[in-house]
Amino acid sequence: MATTMAKALNTALADALAADDRVVVFGEDVGALGGVFRITDGLQARFGENRCFDTPLAEAGIVGFAVGMAMSGLRPVVEMQFDAFAYPAFEQIASHVAKLRNRTRGTLSVPIVIRVPYAGGIGGVEHHCDSSEAYYAHTPGLKVVTPATVDDAYSLLREAIEDPDPVVFMEPKKLYFASAEASLPTRNEPFGRAVVRRPGRDATLVAYGPAVPVALEAAEAAREEGWDLEVVDVRTIVPFDDETITASVRRTGRCVVIQEAPGFAGVGAEIAARVQERCFHALHAPVLRVAGLDIPYPAPMLEHTHLPGVDRVLDAVARLQWDDQPDARWAAA
């Protein structure tokens, strides 16, 4: 049946609420309105105001409240309305959510899910399109997950809610309303497993979240150039699946990492470093990155200059040392 990622997430929340009385859903506008993206649509009507409720407009408060509720034995799922609106909660996330288990030698855990609609491509105005995954991925104690497909949205969210550790669940906004065939409920590979979305022999494209459809489209377009590209969807940034990605790159000998976030010090940089460390002898070319520009997320009229698209990916693939010549881009001046 054709459905959307938004609907899959909504179904996952409903199924989790139905399956476990300890699950509660709260945040800004998640009640009667059903969230600005309608991800919590109908949950309050079905499960009542105790299970799905609006809070004061204060993100640190929402996350800190979730910490306390988790300490009392509940499993809160909270919504940050937009990526950049989650920044007030960062102290709670970095100092408490991520560390409480460690500080208490495992006697207190914080099994909460922080849902963050993130990234651009929707013509959003400033402060509505940040790719903030690196902040969370750089914080030990958090799991960081981002679905790229409709059925993974369902599966990963159900798993996040059941996980004993806190999960920052990054939802690519531009994929919310893309439709795909999916039969829900479904359970896919667990956390820590990347998935090969498209097999190929010549090079590996590693992507996550909003960059996965770009990678798939680029791989399709590359056929015309005579390249057979493999696409790996990371799915869970933390825990990270070195095994699947290493195996793929060792097979193909070439790798391009694609992310929408600014490239500098990003998750893609970490992936490129790990691939290089593990696959050096199998590599025929340097690991390249295709990322957003190192600029604040631009205005809607200019966002397509910023976003890594198919052409930029194909340009990178073209530079993967097919003729064993120095990369003109890095040639000494």
């Binding site: 204060a58 409240f65 009392s72 460690n102 208490t104 495992g106 006697t107």
Partner: protein
């Protein structure tokens, strides 16, 4: 023509008959003066119906734990000077607040302490060695929070206020009548999480008592740089939270006010804010030099308001304590300190490999790799030591 207010009143006799509706804020305001049941010299002040004096046996126990608490505190300061603790934020002078607050709650209630509440935690019955684990330089909070219903001592300022609100709401949601007691200092009331915590608690009517120990300094910064409010207790009214201020060096008043605040919360009436006026006799920590920002005359003046002496004077006058009882309690305190000294002088064993155990419920493949690396490093170092 300009109309004066007087002219309006003269022209409109009906206005005089208008009944002013009751001010909904008035009932939330604290008393203009801090509640006080004992004078500074320990003599009783007129009783108050709204804050009945706790029973004599409770006051005797309050005194006993204050004496033990002070001895614990001076011992911890001494251990710091001997290098046994990495750092120690003393609460000497704040014994009435530290002990009075935890005596006002049940064992099943939850306490959310800051780093200055070591004395409160030992008064709550937690093993002092466990309380000092973190300050000793170990990596975890020492005690099991689920067993003693006490959160880890919180270093990030005011963040525990929101946890207290969430825990109290979660407990009520699950049908339990738990109260959450959140400690906070004067400086931290400037942090956003204090406001978000008290606001969330108020909106959800969560049973939380927010207890501000206004000890006059945030490290070196005086209260006048934290707020322009008449006193910190006035911060409750803006959130619809009733509040009270109390003489924080009057142990009887602290216990009486907190007992009422806890009863208010447990009765389902929502949160309550208490501000205690007290004074930090020691520097912020052993690493601080308080002479750079306050006069010794100011400290001396507070020495005369010592809460332990005040309660002792009162209880002796009431016949609740005598020389023998005081001597026995002092002896208990010395034994307590001696035991703490002995146990803190034992070198604790720390296992570097345990650093990987609780980052996640199950370590990630990357952490397993890193643990193996550290294990190999340790083995190599051990082998080298063996060779030497």
């Amino acid at each position: 023509m300009t109309t004066t207010p007087q002219a309006v009143r003269r022209a409109s006799p009906r206005a005089r008959r208008t009944v002013t509706p009751p001010d909904p804020a008035r009932s939330l305001l604290p008393d203009a003066e801090p509640v006080r049941l004992l004078a500074e010299n320990g003599t009783p002040l007129p009783a108050r119906a709204d804050y009945p004096e706790p029973p004599a046996e409770v006051l005797r126990e309050l005194y006993r734990r204050m004496v033990l608490g002070r001895r614990f505190d001076t011992q911890a300061t001494a251990l710091t000077k001997q290098g046994r603790l990495a750092v120690y934020p003393s609460s000497r002078g704040q014994e009435a607040c530290q002990v009075g607050a935890v005596l006002a709650v049940r064992d099943t209630d939850w306490v959310f302490p800051t780093y200055r509440e070591s004395m409160a935690l030992v008064a709550r019955g937690i093993d002092p060695v466990e309380v000092l684990t973190l300050l000793r330089g170990d990596w975890h909070c020492g005690y099991d929070p689920t067993e003693v219903h006490t959160a880890p001592q919180c270093t990030p300022l005011a963040t525990q206020c929101v946890h207290a609100a969430g825990l109290a709401h979660g407990e009520a949601y699950q049908g339990r009548d738990t109260v959450a007691l959140a400690f906070i200092g004067d400086g931290a009331t400037s942090e956003g999480d204090f406001h978000e915590g008290i606001n969330f608690a108020a909106v959800f009517k969560a049973p939380v008592v927010f207890f501000v120990q206004n000890n006059k300094y945030a490290i070196s910064v005086p209260l006048s740089r934290q707020t322009a409010a008449p006193s910190l207790a006035y911060k409750g009214v803006g959130y619809g939270v009733p509040s009270e201020q109390v003489d924080g060096n009057d142990p009887v008043a602290v216990l009486a006010v907190l007992t009422r605040a806890v009863a208010h919360a447990r009765a389902g009436k929502g949160p309550f804010l208490v501000e205690a006026h007290t004074y930090r006799m020691e520097p912020h920590t052993n690493a601080d030099d308080a002479t750079r920002y306050r006069d010794s005359a100011e400290v001396d003046a507070w020495r005369d308001r010592d809460p332990v002496a005040r309660l002792e004077t009162y209880l002796r006058a009431r016949g609740v304590l005598d020389d023998a009882a005081v001597a026995e309690i002092t002896e208990q305190a010395e034994a307590y300190a001696a035991d703490l000294r002995t146990r803190m002088n034992e070198q604790p064993t720390v296992d570097p490999l345990s650093l990987f155990d609780h980052v996640y419920a199950e370590p990630t493949p990357q952490l397993i790799e890193q643990r193996e690396q550290v294990r190999a490093e340790l083995a190599a170092a051990h082998a080298e030591e063996g060779d030497a």
